[in-house]
Symmetry: C2
Subunit: 210 residues, 2 copies
C-alpha cells in the first residue's frame, strides 16, 4: 500500500521517494533517447534502472505522469541555464541571439535529454488521443518570446512583424536544430546556433529605412 499524503496540494515525498523518482526519470530519459518513445516500455525502463517494474507504478500514477515529469524536469533545467543569460543582455537584438546560442550551449552537454524531449513531445497523448503538448500548452513558452518581440518592437529595435508567427518560427528552428543534431551526432551544434542567431537577427531587425 502506498501512503496517502495527498490530502491537499502537493504530496509530501520522503527523501527515498524523491531519490527513486529521480533515478527512474534518469533511466527513462536514457532509454527513450536510445530506443525511442514507442519501444520504451515500463518493463524496459525498469530493467535499465535495475529495479522491478512495479516500482514505477508505485512511485508514479502511470506512464503519463512519468513522461510529464521528464518534460517538467528538462524544461526547468533549460530555463535555469538560459533565462539569466538572456536577461543579462542589454538590447533586444542581443537577447534574441543569446536565446538561441545559450540553449544550444546548454543542450550540447545533455543530448539524451533533448532527444527524449522530442520523442515525448511528438508521441505522448492523452487517453482521448489528443496531443499532450500542443501549441496551446506551450503557450507560456511562446508568450515569453512574444513579449520580448513586442517590447523590442516598441523600442524600435525590431521591425513590424507578427510576434506570434515569429515566436513559433524561432522555436521550430531551434527544435529542428536539435533534431538534426540528434540524428547526426557529428553535426556542429554551435556553428548551427550561430547561423540561426544571424538569421533571426536579420529577420527581426529594423531596417535602416524603418
Amino acid at each position: 500500500m502506498r501512503p496517502e499524503n495527498e490530502t491537499d496540494g502537493q504530496p509530501k515525498r520522503s527523501f527515498i521517494e524523491q531519490a527513486r523518482r529521480a533515478q527512474i526519470i534518469a533511466a527513462a530519459v536514457e532509454v527513450i533517447a536510445e530506443v525511442g518513445f514507442v519501444k520504451a516500455s515500463l518493463a524496459r525502463i525498469a530493467a535499465h534502472a535495475g529495479i522491478s517494474k512495479g516500482v514505477i507504478s508505485y512511485h508514479f500514477a502511470g506512464k503519463e505522469e512519468l513522461m510529464a515529469q521528464i518534460v517538467t524536469q528538462v524544461y526547468s533545467d533549460i530555463s535555469e541555464a538560459v533565462v539569466p543569460r538572456i536577461l543579462a543582455e542589454e538590447n533586444h537584438n542581443a537577447m534574441i541571439r543569446r536565446h538561441i546560442i545559450a540553449v544550444a550551449e546548454h543542450m550540447s552537454g545533455h543530448r539524451d535529454q533533448i532527444a527524449a524531449l522530442g520523442e515525448i513531445f511528438s508521441h505522448l497523448r492523452k487517453d482521448n488521443g489528443e496531443p499532450y503538448f500542443d501549441t496551446d500548452s506551450s503557450a507560456p513558452l511562446y508568450e515569453g518570446l512574444e513579449g520580448l518581440y513586442r517590447s523590442g518592437q516598441e523600442s524600435g529595435a525590431f521591425r513590424d512583424f507578427d510576434p506570434r508567427v515569429m515566436a513559433v518560427t524561432q522555436q521550430s528552428a531551434i527544435d529542428a536544430m536539435f533534431a538534426y543534431w540528434v540524428a547526426n551526432p557529428g553535426h556542429d551544434l554551435d556553428a548551427h546556433a550561430a547561423e540561426l542567431a544571424e538569421l533571426f537577427d536579420r529577420a527581426t531587425r529594423a531596417s535602416d529605412t524603418d
Copy 2:
C-alpha cells in the same frame, strides 16, 4: 490468393486494384487526420472505408507500405502544384518567397493531407524502431532547397550563409506553420505564409554592403 505479378520491378495493377488502393489511402488520410496515427488501426481505417479489414492486407504488404504510399501520394501532389510556380519566377529572392506561399496555398485546400503527413512523419518507425523519415531520407527535399540557395549565392542574390542550415530551418518553419494551423483551424494560413516569406527574404538577402 493474391496474383503474383511481381516477377520483376513494379507489380502490374488492375484498374480495380488501383481504385481500391486509392480508396484505402483516402480513408486512411481521413482517419489519421481525425484520430491520430496511434489510434488509426487497420480495423478503424477499414471500417471508415466501408470494407473488411482483410482487404487492406490484400492490397498492401502491411501497415508500413500503406503509410509510405500516403506520404508518396501527398508529396507528389505538392510537387506537382508547387514546383512549376517556383520555376516560373525569375530571380532567387522571388523563388524563396514563392516556395513558401505556393505550398501554403496548395495545402489550404488539403488540411487532412498535411495533418496526416505530420502524424506519419513523427510516428512511423521501421521494425528496428528507427524513424522511417529522418533528415537523411528527406535529403532529396533539402537538396532542392540547398541547390537554390547555392545558385542564389553564386549570383549574388543571397548573402553567405550555410545552405544546409537554411534549408533545414526553412522547412521546419513551414512544417511548424502547418502544425499550428492544424491545431488552430481559425489561424490565417496565408497571412502566416506571407510573414514567413518576408522573414526568409530578409534572412537570405545580400546586404547592400555585401
